[in-house]
Each structure stands twice: as C-alpha cells, then as structure tokens.
Amino acid sequence: MFNKCFVVAWNKNSGKDVKMFDVISVDFLKENDFEEFLLDLGYKEIFVCKSIKRKEDFVFSLPKTKKLLLKKAVLLEDFSLINQVKEKDLLILTKGGDIKLNTQSVNNKNSILYNPIGQELCFDEGLAEISKQNNKIICFNINEIRTNQYRSIKQMRFIINILKEKQVEMFFVTLAKRKSDLIDSKILECFLENFNLEKETIKRFLKIE
C-alpha cells in the first residue's frame, strides 16, 4: 500500500525534492491558471484530494500539467470504504471527528487520520499512544480555524500537545477549494508556533526545505 511507504518516507524525512507539502480539494482544479498560481506559491508537487462517499467515486483522473506534479489523494467519508481501495499510488485520508471514527482510523495502519476535531474533544492520550505504536500520521486542516475558531483552536492545542509528547508525526493541510483557501508557507510556519511547536518541527511537518 502506498500509505505504508508514505509513512516510512515521511518518518525518514526523505523526499527532499519536495519544497512544500499540501493537500488541496479536487474542486481547486476548476480555478483559472491553477498551475501557475501554485508554482508561484512555491509548490512543486501537490496532492489533490477527492471526497469518497461511494465505491464509484474512486474513479477520477487529474489533468495534465507542465511543471507541477499532481498526486492523487482520497478522503474517505465512510471508514468501511477502506477495503475498496485498489490503487497503489493513493494517499488515503480517513475522516475523524468523533471517538469511533478516530479509534477506527488510528487502529488502521494504511490510512492517515484527517482532522480528529469534533463537536467535543474526541482524541486522548490513549489514541495518541496507539498512533505512535502504529506509526500513524495525524493530519489537521488548518482552514478549520477560520470556520470554527474557538473550538478548533482549543482542541488543536490539546491534541497537538499530546501528539508532540508522544512524538507522533503530524501534517497540516489546507484542503483548499479556492485560491483564497491556500496559505503562504511562511505565514503558516509562524502561525503554527502558536501551538507550541518548534521551528524545526514545523518545517519538517510542512516539508519546507
């Protein structure tokens, strides 16, 4: 599975040709001149994510680009769909948000837990410990702070703190649908310092050279 290789590569901090890491929504590709825009922001490669609700949704293709490398990613709305994944070069994100989804995702070694933030706090030290044992990566959507400011900041500060303590890898994505959803890497780098993360750790999470 691609994700196992991805996790190993991530942990070894390899792939130094990658200047910046991000996952955007497939809707972003509808924007005009998206390739030049992303290149201008410093991206050399980027994951394009499609939300998967049914088995049929797995079939999607990416447009050809000249300089920018587009890679496929899927966000599984239903955890049971993980057995339907057949493509190898696919970054699999599984939606978190409640205690059941977070536990299911953390126990599965082939997926990445996406946004473990819910109506209430649903990620604890136990889940962080399992994440460490399963060599998991936890993914946060940074744009969540814009929509649910108080709740997401509060929960993210708590979760990031325990993940940092347990030395679990994290990454921060925008899942941008429009150009305005993207964030400049320098701004994001400084913003993440609000979560008590060190500069070196942030650079590793964002894959900034």
Partner: protein
C-alpha cells in the same frame, strides 16, 4: 543665537526594524491602504493582543496599486507575531504572499523598483 543640540537616541537603544514586502494575490480586493492598515492591526490584535499590537508599530511605507504589493515596516522583536497574524488578515485581504523580509529598506527597495 545659540544652537540647540538635538537629543539623539543611541543606536543600542533604538528599536530595530524589519521591512516586509507583501503581495496581495487576490485581484478582487479593493486596494485601499487605510483599510489594509486597519485589517493588519485588527489581525495582530486578535493573534497576539493589544500590547504586542502597540509595540509592533506597523507602518505601511508603500502601497503599489499596480503590482498589488505592500512595503511594511515593523518592530523586529515582533516579526513572528506579525507574520502569524496574517493568517487572520487573509480572511479580508485574500491570499497573501510574503515576498521578502529584510533588515534594511535599501535591500528591499531594489525589488520594489523591479
């Protein structure tokens, strides 16, 4: 008439500055420097509080309507706080890109002229 000697602040006591060149990538945004200043200060207030906002001393030195770039001067000690606050400023100013951060205005002026 006797010349009055001006009191000069010693270099060690002066506030060190940083000059930041920011580009607004959203073409639909109204490029009004007063409004931008207000958004930047409000974002900094939200991110770091009133005391940091006052000490940062944000000054818009140049606002180029054509290239949609802003040349901003801030207090060096609060560089990270200011850049971090741009995350919130993006809600009103659209996507922002930090082109360059320098310690002297001469270094950045060349880029603005280009």
């Amino acid at each position: 008439m006797q010349k009055k000697k001006l009191s000069v602040i010693r270099p060690t006591l002066r506030h060190k500055k940083r000059y930041i060149l920011i580009k607004l990538l959203d073409t639909a945004i109204n490029f009004d420097s007063k409004k931008i200043y207000s958004v930047l200060t409000q974002a900094l207030l939200k991110n770091s509080g009133l005391f940091v906002q006052v000490d940062t001393n944000i000054t818009i030195l140049e606002a180029d309507v054509v290239s949609k770039t802003l040349l901003i001067r801030i207090n060096k000690d609060y560089l990270n706080e200011f850049i971090s606050s741009l995350f919130f400023a993006q809600a009103e100013l659209g996507l922002l890109k930090i082109v360059e951060t320098t310690s002297t205005i001469k270094k950045i002026k060349g880029d603005v002229d280009d």
